[in-house]
């Protein structure tokens, strides 16, 4: 079963928070399904999101005060829970994004070096 998705990476818990916050910042209030769809679309199906894991993460973020939730009517006038990013959430997003960029550039640089250089730098 696992083999069928070998080319897709699981979304890590920390990354998921970043993705959700960014989505909410960009699109405004959204319900859970909307967030899941958006993440899958943007990542062009590269990231494998187990949609169920979204909800505990949303709860956690709400408990931390990064997002707020409100019941409202969906596009088709059905009752749904809408999540929106808070001021604390925006600060968090900025920090997470910064961390992520630093991390990825570090790794990028690391991968760009060839083994000989590595040995030299260490020496």
């Amino acid at each position: 079963m696992r083999n069928g998705h070998a080319d897709k990476a699981d979304v890590l818990q920390g990354t998921l928070i970043l993705l959700v916050l960014r989505t909410l910042e960009a699109l405004g209030p959204l319900h859970g399904y909307g967030i899941a769809r958006r993440i899958e679309q943007i990542s062009r199906e590269v990231l494998q999101l187990n949609q169920g894991t979204l909800y505990p993460a949303l709860l956690r973020m709400e408990q931390e005060g990064w997002i707020a939730s409100k019941w409202g009517a969906s596009e088709k006038n059905r009752k749904a829970k809408f999540y929106s990013i808070t001021a604390a959430g925006r600060r968090r997003l900025a920090k997470e994004a910064e961390d992520w960029r630093r991390m990825s550039s570090t790794i990028e640089r690391f991968l760009g070096l060839d083994p000989g250089n590595m040995a030299e730098e260490r020496g």
Binding site: H31, Y33, N50, Q51, Y55, L59, Q63, G65, K81
Partner: protein
């Protein structure tokens, strides 16, 4: 990130559980429906759309579980759930649950009952104001190894005025008097007390007042009565205060009634009168040195026992100069009242029994742990499924603990009922003269103890399965075939350790019980120095105002009447046969200028001529008393062997002379006319002290014990005839304390018998549980090794080999336990050696007997599983997996 906001949200979550659960359901449903709609739009058929939606969502239940854990105070929530689940699983295996609950309930119940005794007798503070400040003060005579001697009134006055450590001191002296009323006379107990005793203790009379110091000084005849006396004598009437009672023929006015619960020391007296009522008070008040009084004191706040002791020792040295030469070299010892009430031996015995019952609980818990370990092995699949459904490992461990805790709490509830029954039994057995036993009951500390041991038991029982389970879960999943091998080894190792522990504990208890049993036998076989069979014992008292001659005459005629009764072999009288502690007294031997005065602890009694014949004490030399030894003849005495050896070692005491008191006292000289065998009158376990007897006719006491040797197996049947015979002589003579001598002697054994039977009971239970434990283990080990046994048989092992293999496995475990237990028993034996009598703590016979017993029981417990193992069919065994 705010920790507090998470906590607040979680708390809110706890209260809004239902609503949030519904909202989550709605949210999930909405999500799935949206997905299905989109899937349909993308061209899937309805079934496909539904399936795809569910698949992309992932496990709904694990998600909800995480959501909940996040949402609520995970622990509390999970605990309630764990308990619900635990109750469900336990209900599903009623056999296991019933046996575990039964075993644990018994152990917890016994433990709680024992603790209630320990609590009432030793732990609970005494029912007086600031009881920790209360002490007893004693005159100490180091040269005679006497630590707790009574004191003279003069000395106590000096202590009281000179010491700064004490807020107050009060004297008291228990005794008995004859209460006479219109139709009858009876003996009641009385305590003579200094008026400040009650204020010192912080006790108020329930009605009326306490006599004042002035009234006591003026020797006014006033009395306080006990609540019990008030109820039985006056029917609880209001008029009791102010009424009079006649004590020893003299009227006393009742001034107050004491509260119902009041009890001081072990005195449960009916009447409390001023200390000045002591006969010849004026004379005794001036005596310095040893005396008649018990002394209780209250320390000043913030004064420690050591400080008080140091000050009193200094006072004792200062007082030396004012004391007569014979009263010198005394100390004063200060002992906390709480330690005084229950002696070191009773204390040790209670702690020993509590330890024993804790061992039983430990063994019971061990057994149940072993059982649930075996059970958890067979529950592996269930747990694997729970793990697959998303239960985390700590969650499963918690679940197992919840199960054992539920088990323990159920047992605890039942155990409290068992404890109630146990307390009844203990109270009914009346284990000797334990102080404050009447206070035993199920109160808050006892229930707290029950709860504590309950929880501890639950954790102990659940720990082993939880540990093995946790360990097993670390292995990669999907190894179904490994069942019973890798995990089984861990389980079996723990279970073996548990069985070894059980055996070790059981051995310790068995050795203790064996030693106590041998001690009891030794005590029972001690020759008391008289023959108690078929002897009736009756207390007799004569009016206080009778003259000595009248009294002697009355006693003589009573004996004459009694001896003439058919069925009476002979009869005798003595002041009292069985005696308590005796004070040191001065005694002077010799005469003709070379007198030696010394202090020794001895007992003096008056006996009738036929006394020794009636009780069957042998005459070792000289003669018994006869009618010749009348009031006007020379004073003669019979002494016991111990006194002869003490005063005239290596010499013939017959014809020697001695007198009571110092050499210059004006008391009369006694001539020794006879020596009798030693009688153990203080208790069977005490070496007989020196005793002297004088003829009843020469010094008739007001109270006497009439001992009648009958020819009947049940001497009590003589009572009617006996009473009639006494009445023919003295119409109103009070007869009381009617019993057989055997019963009175048996009283010496009650406490020891109680301790011994309790410990035997505990150790038998322990042994049985250990046997069950090893049986279950061997049985289980064979069940899991059927395949191995089959292979062994297939490659040529004989049935006998298999039998030996199983038996040796069992014996190896029990022998390990045995060795550990024997070592433990040797270590503990030394601590408890003061409880033994006539046997040492390392008695080889007991150790060997107990070891053999244990090996026999272990062998029997292994025999049946071994027989079954022999009958394993190799083919069947190999096909099993």
């Amino acid at each position: 990130m705010s920790w507090a906001s998470v906590l607040a949200a979680r708390l809110r979550g706890l209260f809004e559980h239902k609503r949030l659960e519904r909202e989550l359901d709605d949210e999930v449903l909405f999500h799935l429906e949206m997905q299905i709609e989109d899937n349909l739009k993308a061209g899937m058929n309805p079934a496909e759309a539904r399936y795809a939606a569910l698949r992309s969502f992932g496990g709904i239940e694990p998600m909800k579980e995480r959501h909940r854990e996040r949402r609520a105070f995970a622990l509390v929530e999970a605990m309630a759930q764990d308990i619900r689940y635990a109750v469900r699983t336990l209900r599903k295996s009623p056999g296991f649950t019933t046996s575990c609950v039964a075993v644990l309930a018994l152990a917890i119940g016994a433990n709680t009952a024992m603790f209630s005794v320990l609590n009432a007798v030793l732990l609970r503070p005494l029912p007086y104001r600031s009881p920790e400040q209360l002490v007893m003060l004693w005159t100490e005579i180091p040269s005679q190894n006497l630590r707790e001697g009574r004191s003279a009134y003069w000395n106590v006055e000096q202590w009281r005025s000179q010491s700064k450590s004490f807020a107050d001191m009060a004297v008291f002296d228990p005794g008995s008097v004859t209460l006479t009323s219109a139709d009858k006379a009876e003996q009641i107990s009385v305590v003579r007390i200094a008026p400040n005793l009650f204020s010192l203790l912080g006790v108020q009379p329930m009605q009326g007042r306490i006599f004042s110091a002035e009234e006591a000084e003026q020797r006014q005849r006033l009395a306080l009565i006990s609540h019990r006396f008030w109820q039985t004598r006056f029917g609880g009437s209001r008029d009791a205060v102010g009424a009079t009672v006649e004590l020893d023929g003299v009227p006393f006015q009742i001034v107050g009634i004491l509260p119902a619960a009041f009890q001081f020391a072990q005195l449960n007296a009916d009447v409390w009168e001023p200390h000045t009522m002591l006969p010849d008070w004026e004379a005794s008040r001036a005596v310095r040195g040893g005396g008649a009084w018990f002394v209780v004191g209250r320390l000043q706040p913030n004064v420690t026992l050591e400080q008080a002791q140091a000050e009193m020792s200094a006072i004792a040295r200062r007082l030396e100069e004012q004391l007569p030469a014979s009263e010198r070299n005394r100390g004063i010892s200060v002992v906390p009242l709480s330690l005084q009430l229950t002696g070191p031996r009773s204390r040790l015995a209670l702690w020993m029994l509590t330890g024993a019952v804790c061992c039983v609980l430990l063994i019971a818990a061990t057994n149940v742990a072993s059982l649930s370990l075996a059970r958890s092995a067979s529950r592996e699949r269930e747990i694997a499924i729970r793990a697959a459904l998303g239960a985390s490992q700590p969650r499963i461990v918690r679940q197992l603990l919840a199960e054992s805790l539920t088990l323990a709490v159920m047992s605890g509830l039942l155990g409290v009922l068992v404890a109630l029954g146990g307390i009844h039994v203990i109270l009914a057995l009346k284990p000797g003269d334990l102080a404050r036993l009447n206070e035993v009951g199920l109160d808050l500390p006892v229930l707290g103890w029950a709860l504590a041991i309950c929880l501890l038991t639950g954790i102990l029982v659940g720990l082993a399965p939880a540990i093995t389970m946790a360990r097993r879960n670390l292995r990669p999943s999907g190894q179904e075939g490994g069942r019973g091998i890798a995990g089984g080894v861990a389980t079996r190792r723990i279970r073996r350790a548990l069985v070894v522990t059980e055996f070790a504990l059981a051995i310790i208890l068995l050795v203790g019980a064996g030693l106590l049993m041998r001690s009891l036998w030794s005590v029972e076989n001690v020759d008391p120095g008289f023959r108690p069979e078929r002897v009736l014992s009756v207390q007799l008292s004569t009016p206080a105002l009778m003259s000595a001659a009248q009294r002697a005459d009355t006693y003589g005629r009573v004996l004459e009447q009694v001896e003439s009764l058919p069925g009476v072999e002979n009869a005798g009288m003595i002041g009292d046969l069985l005696i308590g502690g005796n004070p040191q007294q001065m005694l002077t031997t010799g005469g003709d200028g070379r007198t030696i005065s010394e202090r020794l602890r001895y007992r003096r009694d008056e006996v009738s001529a036929g006394f020794f014949r009636a009780v069957g004490t042998p005459l070792l030399g000289g003669r018994f008393f006869s009618v010749e030894d009348g009031p006007d003849s020379p004073r003669v005495a019979i002494i016991n062997d111990a006194m002869a050896r003490r005063l005239w070692p290596g010499r013939d005491p017959l014809g020697e002379r001695f007198k009571l008191g110092a050499g210059d006292s004006d008391s009369l000289w006694f001539t020794v006319v006879g020596v009798v065998g030693d009688m153990r009158r203080q208790g069977l376990e005490y070496e007989p002290i020196p005793q002297m007897f004088e003829p009843l006719a020469q010094n008739p006491s007001r109270l006497a014990t009439l001992l009648v040797r009958t020819s009947m197996d049940d001497p009590l049947r003589m009572l009617g005839a006996l009473e009639a015979a006494v009445r023919r002589v003295e119409k109103h003579a009070p007869l009381y304390g009617v019993t057989t001598l055997e019963k009175r002697l048996g009283g010496f054994l009650t406490q020891r018998r109680f301790q011994t039977s309790l410990l035997i009971g505990f150790s038998v239970v322990a042994l049985l549980m250990a046997a069950i434990g090893i049986y279950a283990l061997i049985q289980y080990s064979i069940a899991t090794r059927t395949q191995e046994i089959g292979i062994r048989m297939a490659v040529g092992a004989q049935a006998g080999d298999i039998f030996r293999m199983v038996i040796s496995e069992g014996l190896k475990l029990s022998l390990t336990g045995l060795v550990l237990g024997l070592v433990g028993a040797l270590c503990l034996g030394r601590a408890g050696s003061s409880l033994l009598f006539g046997v040492t703590a390392t008695d080889p016979l007991t150790f060997i007997a107990v070891s053999l017993l244990l090996i026999a029981v272990a062998a029997a417990a292994c025999y049946f599983p071994a027989r079954r193992a022999m009958k394993v069919e190799p083919i069947v065994a190999l096909r099993q997996e």
